[in-house]
C-alpha cells in the first residue's frame, strides 16, 4: 500500500506538471479562498495587536464611571448625570480608590489665533488627569489644582493645535481663543502621532471648573469620572464598593437598577473580544464558502480528467490495480492539487496581508502564526480529498474491458 501511495504521489505530481494551466485553474478556487482567509487573518491579528497596544497606552489601567442612559430616558429627555458629590465621594470616602479625575467635554467652539483656526476636542479636566492617562507636557506645565480652584483661563494644547494655529515652536505664554473666550497657553503635550490615520494630538485641556463655568447649566454637567485603583488585584472589590457608595448617594432603592456604569479595562477587552469573535465567525463563513467553491472546482475537473483518462485506468486495472489502488491514486491527486493551491494561496495571502498593513500608517506588521498556515494547508488537502471522493470512486469502479475499449 505504501508503495502504491508513493507511486500515486509521483504520478499525481507528473500529471499536475504535465497540465500546468489546467491544474492551476482547477485549484484556483482553493487558491483564492486561502489567500483571502490568510490575508484577513493577518490583518485581524495586526488589528488586535494594535488595539490592545492602544488600550495599554490610553490608560488601560484606569476605571471609568459614567451616567447610564437607556434609550427610553434619552428619548423622554430625562437625561441622567453624575452628581458633583460623586466626585468627593470617590476621592475621600471609598477605600482602595487611587487618583480620581473628572472629565467633561467642553464644546466651546472653534479655536483661533489671529487668522488661523483649529477644531480640537476641548476637555475640562483636573490635575489628576495626568496621573491617570499618563500623558505629560513637552513644554511648559500641566494644569495645577489652583487653575481649577480659581477657574483660570489657561489651556494645555496638543501639538496638532499648535500646528493648525501656526503658533511659535514654543507657544507657552501665547493667547488663543476657544469660541469667544481667551485662554493663555501654559503647556504643550507630548506628541502621540497617528492611530489608523487619526491624529491623536488634536485636543486642548482646560480646568474642569473653568469648563463648567463656561458651558452654562451649572447644576447638571455631563461629566465622567476616571479613577485608578491603589491595589491592582482589588479591582472587583473596589468596583463593588464604588457601586454601593454611588447607589446610596443617588438614593436608589434596592429594586432599582444602577443609573451609572463602571467600565473597567477587562470590559473593554470583552467588547473587543466580541468584535473579534464576530470577525472570526464571518471569516469562518468566507472559508466555508470559498472552500466549497474550490472543492467543487476540483471535483468538476477531476470528473473530466477521469473520463479523459478512462483508457489509462483500464490499462492499470489490466495490469493488476485494485479498485482501492485506483481510488487512492485519484484521491492523492485531488488532495495534492488542492494542497498546492492552498500553499500558493497562503503565500499570496501572506504577501497581501503585509502589503495592506504596510499601506496603513501605524499598523503593526501582520503576523499569521505558523500553526494557522500549516492548519490551513492541511485543511485544503482534506477538502481536495473529500471532493475527490466522487471522481475517484468513479475511476475505481470503471469496468476494465470497457475502459480499455474507450476512445
Amino acid at each position: 500500500m505504501i508503495i502504491v501511495m508513493i507511486e500515486s504521489l509521483r504520478a499525481a505530481m507528473a500529471n499536475i506538471l504535465a497540465n500546468r494551466l489546467r491544474s492551476f485553474l482547477t485549484t484556483l478556487g482553493i487558491l483564492i479562498g486561502t489567500a483571502a482567509v490568510v490575508a484577513v487573518v493577518a490583518l485581524m491579528q495586526g488589528f488586535a495587536q494594535s488595539i490592545s497596544a492602544q488600550f495599554a497606552d490610553l490608560g488601560g489601567g484606569s476605571l471609568k464611571v459614567e451616567a447610564l442612559n437607556t434609550r427610553e430616558n434619552r428619548l423622554s429627555g430625562d437625561y441622567r448625570y453624575l452628581k458633583d458629590s460623586d466626585l468627593d465621594l470617590l476621592r475621600y470616602r471609598v477605600e482602595g480608590v487611587g487618583h480620581v479625575a473628572p472629565i467633561m467635554a467642553a464644546p466651546l467652539g472653534t479655536a483661533s489665533h489671529r487668522a488661523e483656526t483649529a477644531t480640537p476636542f476641548v476637555l475640562g479636566i483636573t490635575a489628576e488627569y495626568q496621573m491617570i492617562e499618563r500623558r505629560f507636557t513637552r513644554l511648559g506645565r500641566f494644569l495645577v489644582p489652583a487653575d481649577n480652584d480659581t477657574r483660570r483661563r489657561v489651556v494645555v494644547i496638543g501639538d496638532k493645535v499648535r500646528e493648525d494655529l501656526k503658533l511659535p515652536d514654543n507657544p507657552v505664554g501665547s493667547y488663543i481663543q476657544l469660541g469667544r473666550e481667551w485662554f493663555k497657553v501654559v503647556g504643550v503635550m507630548e506628541s502621540r502621532g497617528e492611530v489608523f490615520g487619526f491624529n491623536q494630538d488634536n485636543y486642548a485641556l482646560i480646568p474642569f471648573e473653568t469648563a463648567r463655568a463656561l458651558t452654562g447649566n451649572k447644576a447638571k454637567v455631563d461629566f465622567e469620572i476616571n479613577f485608578t485603583i491603589s491595589q491592582l488585584d482589588e479591582v472587583e472589590a473596589v468596583k463593588a464598593r464604588v457601586t454601593r457608595a454611588l447607589r446610596i448617594n443617588h438614593n436608589l432603592k434596592f429594586d432599582e437598577e444602577d443609573d451609572f456604569e463602571i467600565q473597567s479595562p477587562d470590559q473593554i477587552a470583552k467588547t473587543f473580544e466580541k468584535i473579534t469573535s464576530m470577525g472570526t465567525l464571518v471569516l469562518g463563513g468566507i472559508v466555508g464558502i470559498s472552500l466549497l467553491v474550490g472543492g467543487i472546482g476540483i471535483m468538476t475537473v477531476m470528473l473530466v480528467s477521469v473520463t479523459e483518462r478512462t483508457r489509462e485506468i483500464g490499462i492499470l486495472k489490466a495490469l493488476g490495480a485494485t479498485r482501492r489502488d485506483i481510488l487512492v491514486q485519484f484521491l492523492i491527486e485531488a488532495g495534492l492539487l488542492s494542497l498546492i493551491g492552498g500553499l500558493i494561496g497562503i503565500a499570496i495571502g501572506y504577501g497581501l496581508g503585509h502589503g495592506v498593513a504596510a499601506l496603513i500608517p501605524n499598523f503593526p506588521p501582520a503576523s499569521v502564526p505558523l500553526w494557522a498556515s500549516l492548519g490551513a494547508a492541511a485543511f485544503c488537502a482534506v477538502v481536495g480529498v473529500v471532493f475527490g471522493i466522487m471522481p475517484a470512486s468513479k475511476a475505481a469502479n470503471l469496468d476494465p474491458i470497457e475502459a480499455l475499449r474507450y476512445e
Binding site: 500500500m1 502504491v4 508513493i6 507511486e7 489490466a318 495490469l319 493488476g320 476494465p400
Partner: protein, 237 residues
C-alpha cells in the same frame, strides 16, 4: 499440479444490450496445459476476444467454471481478480496500451507497483525484462519515440515482468506490418522455448502456423481443436 493450467467447462458469456441479450460464448470447454503454444482463430465477432478477456480475468463468465492454476476463478472477489491479473497473467493487446506519459522503463515496471516492490528493485526487474525483448537500450524513451514493433516489444516486456504463468496476446500483430510481425512472433517462439505458456488470437494463418495448437472459434463455440480427436475437426471442415 497434475491438472491443466487452464480448465474451462460450460462457459457462457451473455452481454446485455438494453432489453435484448447477446450470447457471445455459448458453452465453451477447453483445457490448456503448461507450456502449450495455442492460436485462437476464427472470424471477426466470433467471440475470441471475449474468451481471451475471460482467460485474462478481466471479465467473468455468466455461467460455467474457469480454473486457472488450480484456483476457481468464479469464486474470487474483485480485488482477488486484480491480484490474479497482476501475478498470474501477462496480457498483450493489439493496440499496445502503453501509458504515454511514462518512460519505457516506467511502463514495464508498473505492474510491480501493485506487488509493493520498491522502486530500485522494480527498475532492475523491468530493465531485465526489456533486455529480454531486445530493448535494453531504450529504457528512458517515451512510447511515442518508438516504432510500432518496438512498442509491442515493450508491451511484451511489461507482460513478462512479473513472471506470469500465462501469457495472453489478443491479435498482437494486428497493427504491425508483416516483417515486424515476424519479429514479434520470433519473440513469442523464444518465450515458448523457455517454457512460457502462450495463448494468442490471430486472423492470419502464417501467424497461427507458429503455434503448436490451433483452436477455431465460430459463433461463440469451439468448432475445431487441433489437439482434439479427429471427429471434431471433421465436423468443423
Amino acid at each position: 499440479m497434475s491438472r491443466a493450467l487452464i480448465e474451462l467447462s460450460g462457459i457462457v458469456k451473455r452481454y446485455r444490450m438494453g432489453d435484448t441479450e447477446f450470447e457471445a460464448l455459448r458453452g465453451v470447454d477447453l483445457q490448456i496445459q503448461r507450456n502449450e503454444y495455442v492460436a485462437l482463430v476464427g472470424p471477426s465477432g466470433s467471440g475470441k476476444s471475449t474468451l481471451m478477456n475471460l482467460l485474462g480475468c478481466l471479465d467473468t463468465p455468466t455461467t460455467g467454471r474457469y480454473t486457472l492454476n488450480n484456483r476457481d476463478i468464479g469464486t474470487l472477489r474483485d480485488d482477488e481478480l486484480a491480484a490474479i491479473r497482476n501475478q498470474e497473467i501477462g496480457f498483450v493487446f493489439q493496440s499496445f496500451h502503453l501509458l504515454p506519459r511514462m518512460t519505457v522503463l516506467g511502463n514495464v515496471a508498473q505492474p510491480l507497483v501493485y506487488r509493493g516492490i520498491p522502486l530500485k528493485e522494480r527498475e532492475r526487474q523491468a530493465a531485465e525484462s526489456l533486455r529480454r525483448v531486445g530493448l535494453g537500450d531504450k529504457l528512458q524513451h517515451r512510447p511515442n519515440q518508438l516504432s510500432g514493433g518496438q512498442r509491442q516489444r515493450v508491451a511484451v516486456a511489461r507482460a513478462l515482468v512479473g513472471n506470469p504463468s500465462l501469457l495472453l496476446a489478443d491479435e498482437p500483430t494486428g497493427n504491425l506490418d508483416s516483417r515486424t510481425s515476424e519479429e514479434i512472433m520470433a519473440l513469442f517462439d523464444a518465450l515458448h522455448q523457455d517454457g512460457q505458456t502462450v495463448v494468442l488470437v490471430t486472423h492470419e494463418p502464417d501467424i497461427a502456423a507458429h503455434c503448436q495448437r490451433t483452436v477455431r472459434v465460430n459463433d461463440g463455440r469451439i468448432v475445431f481443436d487441433s489437439a482434439a480427436p479427429a471427429t471434431v475437426s471433421e465436423v468443423a471442415a
